[in-house]
Structure formats: structure tokens, C-alpha cells
Amino acid sequence: MAEHDEYTIGQHLQSQGISRRAFLKFCTAMASALALPPSAALAMASELPGKRRPSVIYMSYQECTGCLESLTRSFSPTLENLMFNVMSLDYDDTLQAAAGFQAEQAREAAMKANWGKYLMIVDGAIPNANNGYCTAAGKSALDSIRETAKGAAAVVAVGTCAAFGGLPIANPNPTGATMVSDIVTDKPVINVPGCPPIPAVITGTLAHFLTFGKLPELDQLKRPIAFYGNTIHDRCYRRPFYDQGKFAKTFDDEGARNGWCLYELGCKGPTTYNACATVKWNGGTSFPIQSGHGCFGCSEPGFWDRGDLYKPLSAGLWHGNMAAELGTAAVAGIAIGGAAAMAARHRQDAHQKKETK
């Protein structure tokens, strides 16, 4: 790490044979992705080469490694990879060659050398029900995240599991899984949700932090507004079909073949904030809706537990047997109405008897 710290990003890029032109293209793309003014690209281009590579500690807890796969499985060479290469990734138990004590020593050394300055990336939810869950190097996940977050400049919760609990927090949540922002309360936390998040969203967030020394503007769920400011529905290329009232009714009908709106098939695009429809995946090739499947809303809290993955957004979320409950309600209504009518008849009879007397 100490060796890494001697080099600036510019020197590192030169050593990797990355041209100035490629770097400028990267800065422009990042500024554009973050919805920053054109001057920000220039700021990035002038600031980044002179900066020392920031130390990044990547901690994984209850996760499937999909987020890391997303980040690393980008086609090479990509802007995402480029950005990842200019970070000093000092600890990542999935990617690093070191294991056991050596790996833990690397993390501790990086923390010590960059105390208060390193960026901590957390991937996965944190089990809170039992210290025995998700233990690594003799430390529980809870102790591990608390210890590592102590010296971090900021914590980036990558993926929906880290940001909102994701699948581990879903009912019945046997591990008592919780999200990063519930554990780390004394450091800036930025959520980059998605199952998995888009690589450019992760690197864009990191680039912003590196260039401007602060986190980008966040929404109420601590997500960068530049990427999570619009719903997928609002940016979806199928939106005109929604407006025309043209919907696919099954995954293989004529509507589906014509690329009509997937709202009826349960697409959660209208309530999901993410950049999938604009940044897309695999180098801007496609995203779930483009491949014919509705949005799951994976970058929103509690998406798994709603139980409406294939239900239209306007359909009710029933708990229990709806037909039985409404049937019981109908029977109860008829019974009450019948009793009320009988009572009215009884009063009429009593009144009539009184008048006859």
C-alpha cells in the first residue's frame, strides 16, 4: 500500500499505458453520467491525475457476490475498469490473492496508513441476530463493519443488500439482517442499490468523491440523485406504448413481440429510481425491460417482500385469501342489513299494535 501511495493517478495511468485521450473521454463520460456541468469534466481531468490513488477497503457480508461480479465483469477495456484500476483496492476478500492472516494484515495496514481517508465499500447485509452468523477471521460481521468504518472517510453501501437489506432482510429474516446505514451512523453513508448495481453508477460515485472530495447530492434514501433521480418508467423507451394504452399481456404475445409496455406483467418501472434505462448494462447494450422482462424494482427497499413481482402496480397487495375475506364481509353485511330490517319491522308492528289499542 505504501508503495501505491507514492504514485499519483496520472503516473499510474502512464504506467498502464492509458492515453490522455482515453482519460479525457472517461472524465467527460463520468461528468455526463453524474449530470454535472461540462466544466466538471475539465475539473476531473485536471484534478484526478494529480491525486494519489485513494485506498479502498471492500468488505463483503451477506451477499451473493453479484455486485462484485457486476463491477468486475465489465468488458475490457471499459471506463469502469479504468476507474477501478486507479483505485488502490487494498482489501477485498474475493479478489485479493492473500488469505487468512495476511489478508487481515493487509486490511489493518491500509486502515492504519490511511486512517480517516480511506473509502469503505460494503457489499451485503449485516446479520444482527447472532454474532456467529457471517464470521470471518474470528470477527462477526457486526464487529468487523464497526471496526473498519471507524477510520473511513465515507462508506459506500453497494447493492441492495448493503443499502436496504435486500434478500437477507426478506421475511422471515432468520439472521436479523440489517442495512449499513443502521450500523454506521457516525460516517457519511452513500447507498448504491441495485441487484446488482450498474458498474458505471458505482464508479461514477467514486469518481465524484475523488474529484470533489465530497459525496454527490443524495436523495432521501441516500442514493446519488444523478443516477437515481428519475424513475425507469420516465426514461423507458417503451413509455410511448404506456401512453397509447398498448400493453403486453403475456411474455410471448403479439404485444410482447412488438415491444409494448410491460406494466400489465408487473413492471415496477414507475416506482423504481435507477439509471438502467439510460446507462444500461454490458457497455450500454441493454437492460431488463429491453430484453423483454419487466423491472423488479430491485433498487428500492423491500422489493422482495411485497410479493408482487408479476402483479401490476395498480393491483392490490392482499394478505390472506381475498375472495374468502370479501365473501365473509358480504355475508356479514347481509346479516347486519337483515337484522336491521327485522328490527324495523318489529318497531312497525309494535307501533301498529299501539295504534290499534
Binding site: D234, D243, G245, P301, P312, S314, G316, G333, I336
Partner: protein
């Protein structure tokens, strides 16, 4: 649980249960009431036809009263037709009804729904202005009238705000829209909005009586 999940889940579920209990309670209570025995000789036997005829004819404005009732009748027609288009023509609404009943039918383009919604809101505002500015109507009006107006107008306004993304984030507006529908469902059996069902029952009963007596309708 976020607001939208609450609105789509427990709020909608309980408001539908209250709606079902209330509607059948009121309807059964009225239909099972004892009627006065009619000992007269029936002039006609086609009471069902008379009932259906009166339901239809009473919906047609009378020429004799047109000069004085034209505004109220036109506005009434406008917002009722507008509500029907919005409720039964908008695809997300159809999908909601389908999730409850299994019934399905083709929807209308959103532009037509938005236009109908805007016209409906304008007509509902005109109805309210007429009610508060006309001294007789104002005297006849009570809490039920104003609250029924509010719970009818609120879903249309919140629905338009939701599609236009005005005032808050879409999911919040959608949740408020669904909650306003919950309020409408809860109030419908117990206020004047019960006329949605009773108009057919009362007109039909009158029509059947008239037919039995051989009166012209």
C-alpha cells in the same frame, strides 16, 4: 412498510371489506323493509319493464324544466361520464378491477383519460361553485353533500397529480391517490354516494309501482 405498500395492502384491503359490508348492509336493510300492502287491482303486469323504463326515462332531461335545470344537468352529465371514462377506461384501473373480479376489457389511450380527468375536475369544481353560490342549494346542503363531493373529487385530482408527477414523488402521489380511493370506498355506503346503487333501486321501485297503477312515465 412504506406508504405505497400500506395503501396497496392493508388500507385497500380494509376499505374494500368495509365497502362490501356497508353496501350489502344498507341494500339488504332497505330491500327487506316491509312495504305497504297494495290491495288494488293491477292495471298492468309488466312491472319489470316499467321499472327499467323509468330508470332510463328519468335520466333524460325534461323539456319543460330545461330552461331552469340545463346547467345542473349538463354539468352533472359531464362529470358522471368523465368519471366513467376515467374509472373504467384507464388501463391501471382496469387491472385493479381485474385483480378483484377477473373481468377484463380493452383500455383507452392515456391522453383521452387525462383529458377526461381534467374536464371532470373542472365540472366538479363548477358543481361546488353552483352549490355554494345558489342560496336554495346552499340551504339544502349539509356535511354529507360537501364530504361526498370531496371524496369524489380527491381521487381524480390525486390521480392527475400522480400521472403529471406534480407536488411529490410518483410513489407518494400514487399512495395518496389509492388512499383517497380507500376513503371513497369507506364513505360510499354510508353517505349520499350510495346513490350509485340506490338510484336504480329507487327509480326501479317507482317505475314498477307506476306500471302496476298504469300511470304514464
Amino acid at each position: 412498510m412504506d406508504l405505497l405498500t400500506f395503501a396497496r395492502g392493508p388500507a385497500l384491503q380494509w376499505s374494500l371489506i368495509i365497502f362490501a359490508v356497508g353496501m350489502l348492509w344498507r341494500l339488504t336493510g332497505i330491500l327487506l323493509l316491509r312495504r305497504k300492502p297494495d290491495h288494488s287491482e293491477p292495471r298492468h303486469t309488466g312491472t319489470w319493464r316499467g321499472a327499467l323504463k323509468l330508470i332510463a326515462t328519468r335520466s333524460v332531461p325534461k323539456r319543460e324544466f330545461w330552461a331552469t335545470t340545463a346547467f345542473g344537468q349538463i354539468i352533472g352529465y359531464v362529470f358522471h361520464i368523465g368519471l366513467v371514462i376515467v374509472i373504467f377506461g384507464f388501463v391501471p384501473h382496469i387491472l385493479f378491477i381485474r385483480s378483484l373480479t377477473g373481468l377484463d376489457w380493452p383500455g383507452l389511450p392515456n391522453s383521452l383519460i387525462y383529458l377526461s380527468g381534467a374536464i371532470t375536475v373542472a365540472a366538479l369544481i363548477a358543481v361546488l361553485i353552483r352549490r355554494v353560490s345558489n342560496p336554495v342549494l346552499r340551504m339544502l346542503s349539509n356535511f354529507d353533500d360537501y364530504f361526498s363531493w370531496l371524496v369524489t373529487t380527491a381521487p381524480v385530482v390525486t390521480g392527475l397529480l400522480a400521472v403529471a408527477h406534480l407536488g411529490a414523488r410518483y410513489e407518494t402521489l400514487l399512495a395518496i391517490h389509492i388512499l383517497s380511493i380507500c376513503l371513497l370506498l369507506i364513505w360510499m355506503p354510508f353517505g349520499k354516494l350510495f346513490h350509485t346503487v340506490m338510484i336504480f333501486v329507487s327509480r326501479g321501485t317507482t317505475g314498477a309501482l307506476f306500471a302496476r297503477k298504469g300511470a304514464s312515465t
